[in-house]
Every structure is written in C-alpha cells, then in structure tokens.
Subunit: 146 residues, 2 copies
Amino acid sequence: MKPLFDDLIDVMKKHRLRISKQRLKILEYLVHNRHHQTVDQIYHELHPDLPTLSKTTVYNTMKALVQAGIVKEIGIDEHETRYDITKEEHGHFKCESCHNVYDFPINIDDGLKKGGLEGYLVNSKNVYLKGICPKCLLDIKLVNTD
Amino acid sequence: MKPLFDDLIDVMKKHRLRISKQRLKILEYLVHNRHHQTVDQIYHELHPDLPTLSKTTVYNTMKALVQAGIVKEIGIDEHETRYDITKEEHGHFKCESCHNVYDFPINIDDGLKKGGLEGYLVNSKNVYLKGICPKCLLDIKLVNTD
DNA sequence: GTATAAGTTGTAATGATTACAAGTTAACTA
DNA sequence: TAGTTAACTTGTAATCATTACAACTTATAC
Ligand SMILES: [Mn+2]
Ligand SMILES: [Mn+2]
Ligand SMILES: [Zn+2]
Ligand SMILES: [Zn+2]
C-alpha cells in the first residue's frame, strides 16, 4: 500500500499541478502538522528551510491545493483563513481564550431535517463552534478563588 | 403580547445601549429584511433615509448588537461578514452562483457524537454549506442543450 | 436644565489577500 | 540530453473590508 504522501502527489499530477520543491515542502508540512495553520504560520515555519520562499507562493499553493481537493479552507475565524488536510468529516471548535482550533467528531447529515435542502446541490459542509476549551476552563477555575 | 421590536429595544436597554435614531433604523431594517445583509448593504439601503449615516456607525452598531446577543455574525464567506437577527437555530447555505444565503432547518446536536465535546464550553454554533441553489441549477439546465 | 458618558462621523491606518510583471523551472518531446 | 514552453516563483504594489482615532453631538440620569 502506497503511503499517503505519494497519493497526494498523484492527486496533484491528476490536476496538472507541477511538483516544485516549494509545493513538496508545503504538502509535507501539512501532512505532518495537522493544526489548521494559516498561510502566515506555514510561511514562517518553512522559511528557515526554504529561505527563498515567498508568502505569495504559499497563498498560490494553498489555492491550488484547495482547487485540487487536497486541502479544505477553514473559515471559523473571519480574520484568518486556516487549512485542513484531514479527509474524514469532522467539525471545528475554536477556543476564544487560547485561539486553538480543535477537531471533533460529527455527522452533519444526522442533524439535517429531511426535505430542508431538497433541490440544492451541496458542494461543501462546515460546522464551526466557538467557546472555551477544557484546558482554558481549568486555568480560569484556578485563577478564580471562589 | 408585546411586539418583537419592543422586546429588542428592551434587550438593548438591558445591555446599557442607548437608543439612537441610527440604531432604531438599523434594527427596524434588520427585523423587516431578513436576508443576511452585509454592513455595506445595510449602509446603502438606509442612506437615502438617513443621509448623515456613517458606515462606521453601522459597523459600531452591528458590533453592539452582536455583543447584546440580538444579532449573530454569519461568516459563511471569508470576504464578507453577514448578520442574522433570526433567533431559531438554523443552518446557512450559500449559492456559489447567485451568492444568496439561504436558511435551512437543522439540529446541530443531533449530529454531535456523544463525548466528542466533553469538557468544552460551547458559546456559539454555525453550520455553513455551499453549493448551487435550485433556482441556479434550473438556469444551468436551461443553458445546457444536452 | 445640566452634566457626562456614550454614540456618531469622517478620515486615516491596518492587515490579510490579490494583482502584476519579470525571472525561473518542471515537464514534455525529439 | 537539450530545447521549448507553459506553469511556477518571487517581490512589490494595489485592494478592500474592517478598525482606530479624535472632534463633535446627543441620550440619559439627576
Ligand atoms: Mn480539522
Ligand atoms: Mn439565517
Ligand atoms: Zn483554550
Ligand atoms: Zn443560486
């Protein structure tokens, strides 16, 4: 069985995307660091390794990967676009205290009431929750002396 | 039974928000035009009626209404923040052809697998779908001569 | 009616994303 | 393997929604 990484290269080739070293590094990074990073984060983390890398290239690459269906845009926060290379359906939770984005299991179709989207062609689904994560809740409790 | 509009005024007062004529017009507009308008749309539609209105005021007012829990931010599209004054839980569908945002019935909790968000404090939930609406699907079929 | 904190307004600043043009290179072919 | 070319990369400039700011105005409390 072929590793995940090679599968993704194949998908890129199917979409007529060239395999540059920039794209390889970005793809590799996304596969190994699944924390919904922003373009800015990806750029800064790869820069030491690829000193000539341009932020424009990261933007271009992410757009290409989205169009190829390899990554998904996560727009849980209006002010920053994040990206997710994980395939399985899941929801996203953003902690309003530590700003981390967590995955959680969900089956969107279970919540859809039948007939509600009759006649609609659905291309993408996203579930976004916001609140406070368990770690931050604990911190808040430790601070409060009630 | 008191009308919806007066209830909203009461909520504003509870949150120590002053009742200016700008805010009244915006609130009235939102109650009567439930199409998930952007700040820009709200501004342009009210401008004939309130010639001195500033777009900054619309931004400020929407922020105040969000904080008071009177309207909800709809971030289905990264490039435009929309607002929704409807209270009942529902999902949003954005047509990638006509760019309209439609409501649809949903029960988010039905799709949540138990234990998945154990220990998280959830403050807000959003379900965003994208695709093609029935009207646009019909238009596409009429154009294709297959 | 007065005091004052809150709201309004126009303008400037911000910041993420996109547009663009010149230089570079992956991939195909002979 | 070298030549060709469209695709990719890069730095810089432009865009545009949103926010910051400061002076002016007003809703609300007493
Ligand atoms: Mn995820
Ligand atoms: Mn709605
Ligand atoms: Zn947290
Ligand atoms: Zn449509």
